[in-house]
Symmetry: C2
Subunit: 185 residues, 2 copies
C-alpha cells in the first residue's frame, strides 16, 4: 500500500461560490486514496504586522502555522487579482513564513492551480506565487502547469466538472502531485 | 507657479519603526512644494471578499477608495515579503480596485520605491507591483528605479537619512515623480 500524505489545501478566494473552491473540491474528489486533503482557511488571519507578532501572535496565526506545519505538502488553488496573487492569499503566505527562521512552509512540496473567468487562466498569479515559493524553499510541481480559464463555465449546478476532458486534466494534475510528493518525500 | 498635486502615500509595512515609513517620510520632506503628500493607511482594511462587498462594503473600504480617488497620483513605498508585495499592500490594491469597473486607481500616475534590509532592495516586490499597476492602468515612473538596500543603515536615530548621496538620490526620485505627474497630467 502507498504511504499516506496529509495535504493542506489553501484556496485564495473567500467567496462562498468561488470557482477556485469548486476546483479544489473537484481535485479532492479525484485524488488518489493515499492523499488526505484538508482545507485550511485563511479568511480570518489579521494582516501581518511584526509589531503584533512581538506583542504576542494572535491565536489565528498560531493555529494556521500549526495547520501548515503538520501537513506533508500544500495544494494552492487561487484566482488572480490584478495580475497577481490575491492579497488574502499573500497575507496567509506572509503569516505562515514568520517569525523569522520558523517558516511553516519550509521544504514542503507544493502544487498550484489557478482558475480565472478569462482566457489566460491566472498565469500572472500562478507565477507570482511560484516566485514566493522559491524563497520559501517549497519544491513546486512543474508539470502539468494548471492555468484554468473560462472558470464560470466549468461546473454544473451541483459543483461537478461538466467536461470529461477537464476532469481528466484535473485527475492527471492531482495524480502528478501525488507522484511528486512521493518522489521528494 | 507650478500647479499643485495631491499625492496619496501608501506604505506596505505596518510596523511602527518601519524603514519604509521612514523612507516615505524622507521623501515627503524632500518633495517640491507643489506636491501635497498625504499618508493613506491600509492596516485596518478587512481582507477583500466579494461576498462582503455584495452585503455592503465596510466603511474602511469606502473611505480608502475615496482617499485614493481624490488623489492626483500615488506613491508606493514598500518592503518585500517573500520576494513579492506584502499581503497587506496587495489587499489594499485589491480593495481599491473594486467593485468591478469602479477602480480607484485607474489612470493615476504612480511611483514605487522598495526598501529592504538586504542587498537587492526589494526588486522582487517592486516588479510584482509593477505588473499589477499595468492591469490597473496606472502610468508608473520608470526612471530612476528605486531599489533601496541596507535599509537598517540608512537612518539616524531621528529618522534623517545619514548619507548625502542617499538624500540626493531620494531628492532626484521625488523630483522625477513630480516631473512625471506634470508630464502626463
Amino acid at each position: 500500500m502507498a504511504k499516506s500524505y496529509k495535504i493542506a489545501v489553501v484556496v485564495g478566494s473567500l467567496r462562498k461560490e468561488s470557482i477556485n473552491r469548486k476546483a479544489a473540491e473537484a481535485l479532492v474528489r479525484l485524488a488518489p486514496d493515499n492523499l488526505d486533503l484538508e482545507f485550511v482557511e485563511i479568511g480570518a488571519l489579521p494582516l501581518y504586522d511584526e509589531d503584533v507578532e512581538a506583542a504576542g501572535a494572535p491565536q489565528s496565526w498560531t493555529r494556521f502555522r500549526e495547520q501548515i506545519s503538520s501537513a506533508d505538502a500544500v495544494l494552492f488553488v487561487t484566482p488572480e487579482y490584478n495580475r497577481s496573487v490575491p492579497g488574502v492569499l499573500k497575507n496567509a503566505i506572509d503569516v505562515g513564513s514568520r517569525p523569522y527562521g520558523q517558516s511553516a512552509w519550509a521544504k514542503k512540496p507544493a502544487a498550484i492551480m489557478t482558475v480565472s473567468p478569462g482566457a489566460i487562466g491566472g498565469f500572472g498569479a500562478n507565477h507570482h506565487l511560484r516566485q514566493s515559493l522559491v524563497f520559501l524553499d517549497m519544491p513546486v510541481l512543474q508539470q502539468p502547469e494548471a492555468y484554468i480559464g473560462r472558470g464560470f463555465e466549468l461546473f454544473d449546478e451541483t459543483g461537478e466538472l461538466k467536461s470529461d476532458d477537464t476532469r481528466s486534466f484535473f485527475k492527471s494534475f492531482i495524480d502528478s502531485f501525488a507522484g511528486w510528493i512521493e518522489r521528494i518525500a
